[in-house]
Symmetry: C2
């Protein structure tokens, strides 16, 4: 079996996972409780040993870690805005002080792509992409059956693809990035814009502005709220435009959507597919599948991290 670790801004999940994707045991830590990375690694090490003790007869073959800004080549986490450790964290090195097993790190979107390939919607596919729609927008690309890390391990930054020149300001310092429209945060921006710009009635108007969320927008749209449907449509338009321009570069067989906003399902994916098809070059039309993630949601990130470990020791 392998260890899967999913490092998030709030929680870090740790599990022991077999090759079929069964999570044998698991536990979580509060990431913010460990402002020092060394203490964090010690705590994870202890958790792994505790989890492993009742299963000592099976060796741990590898450790796979999914983390924001995790870099496969350098084994580091670099400048992750939502984690307590600043600068460049040499995570792989730190882990190797405690374990004999090989340690692999990548970012959460790449881990999600491997999770879909091993245990989810993309089983058996050689060319596909995963789009993570959450607080931010991320992506992982599988090309010729292998994750595309690019030259320096940072490939797949779909969230910063320009969908509107001179558009919304992004945290990255640029403008018009897909993330500023299609993330949960982007959808809230769209909602606030449209609620103040348009006078149409909307169920959203009863929600205090500082409590608006992408989830509320999608729920209202599901119930037929016309203005909320507009907001979802606008999100789909930006997403579909970006996808059409990426499809003509990488030619994926399918695009798998993962994360909180992707839970909107067909409500978002159907118009996204329509906008994508409208913008697609002829030779790609009606060829690319859009799917929701099929990795069990409660274990998706852990399974992605585990898939990274299996992938690299096979």
């Amino acid at each position: 079996m392998v260890v899967g670790i999913d490092i998030g801004g709030t929680n870090t999940a740790i599990g022991l996972i077999d090759q079929k994707g069964n999570v044998l045991v698991e536990t979580t830590l509060k990431t913010a409780n460990y402002p020092k990375i060394e203490a964090f690694v010690v705590a994870i090490t202890k958790s792994i040993n505790d989890l492993h003790t009742p299963h000592k007869e099976v060796a741990i073959k590898a450790i796979g870690i999914g983390a924001p800004n995790g870099n496969f080549y350098s084994g580091t986490i670099e400048q992750a805005p939502n984690l307590p450790w600043k600068g460049i964290v040499h995570l792989r090195e730190l882990f190797l002080e405690y374990f004999d097993a090989p340690v692999f790190i990548t970012n959460d979107a790449n881990a999600a792509a491997l999770g879909e390939m091993h245990y989810g919607a993309a089983k058996g596919l050689k060319n596909f992409m995963v789009v993570t729609l959450g607080t931010g927008v991320g992506s992982g690309f599988v090309v010729n059956g292998k994750l595309m890390y690019g030259h320096d391990g940072f490939a797949g930054e779909l969230g910063h693809f320009t969908v509107e020149q001179g558009g919304r300001p992004c945290n990255c310092g640029r403008r018009g990035c897909l993330e500023t429209y299609a993330s949960a945060t982007g959808i809230v921006t769209t909602a606030l814009e449209q609620l103040s710009r348009v006078r149409l009635p909307s169920g959203l108007r009863s929600i205090p502005k500082n409590q608006l969320s992408a989830k509320f927008v999608c729920q209202a749209a599901e119930q037929g709220d016309a203005l909320s449907l507009e907001m979802v449509d606008y999100t789909a338009e930006k997403l579909g435009f970006a996808l059409a321009n990426i499809v003509l570069i990488t030619s994926p067989e399918a695009i798998v959507f993962f994360g909180g906003v992707a839970n909107a399902g067909d409500l978002l994916l159907k118009p996204t597919k329509e906008y994508m098809e409208q913008n697609l070059l002829n030779i790609f039309k009606n060829k690319v599948q859009l799917w929701q993630s099929q990795v069990p949601e409660n274990h998706a990130a852990l399974l992605g991290a585990a898939a990274l470990a299996w992938e690299n020791i096979e």
Copy 2:
């Protein structure tokens, strides 16, 4: 040795090439003389046998073909606008009737990428892209050391990347494609637009409009013609914007420029790099090299086709 075949709208070049990239013998046919594909294949077969006769002691290991819209997976040429054969041409199948050796086909930009990897600027690189700037704009991507064909063999259509929403109409039926700005044809469109929009003097005004070419624009710019420099700058702006948005997906180590317009060299590549850097996400800044092709120009397409053959029998 292998056979390299470069099928173009005007000429088809055929050569015998060793593994080091030496073109031992070569010949050309006029493509338009063969409105029937069967006659074309027969003529090529005869040419190959003629070339091979004095070298009979060395076997032909494979045949590599670069052609517009050539598809690696299906072995076909599909809907190539500048070739005499319409619809889908089953080129590999036809060749296999005459040869025992394996036959590989891909489009010219992919062949160019393999040519750079085996014999040119990208030797030893595992992640890079080639951009072909000629009558149209094409691209070939190498990812993890292998050509990225995508699911259906059509990956790498950078020429149809949208650089201007609602921009210039493209032959593909869409608008604002990079090709309508950065190809030789696109540069002429830019020149005509600017000559009629602006009253500045320019050496280009002495050239009859129907004789304007990208080459004239670049030559005038080289000589300091201010308006021509503007035109080159505008081309670089569109190209740099597209590249910045592709770099964040594929994270290449280098971008190699190939084809007639790329011969403008630093005149075009320097401002293109500046615009690319301006638009790049921080983590990619100052990391991506822009190079001119280093495959000998007179044999570039043949060597690309030969590299395709070597690549697939190794």
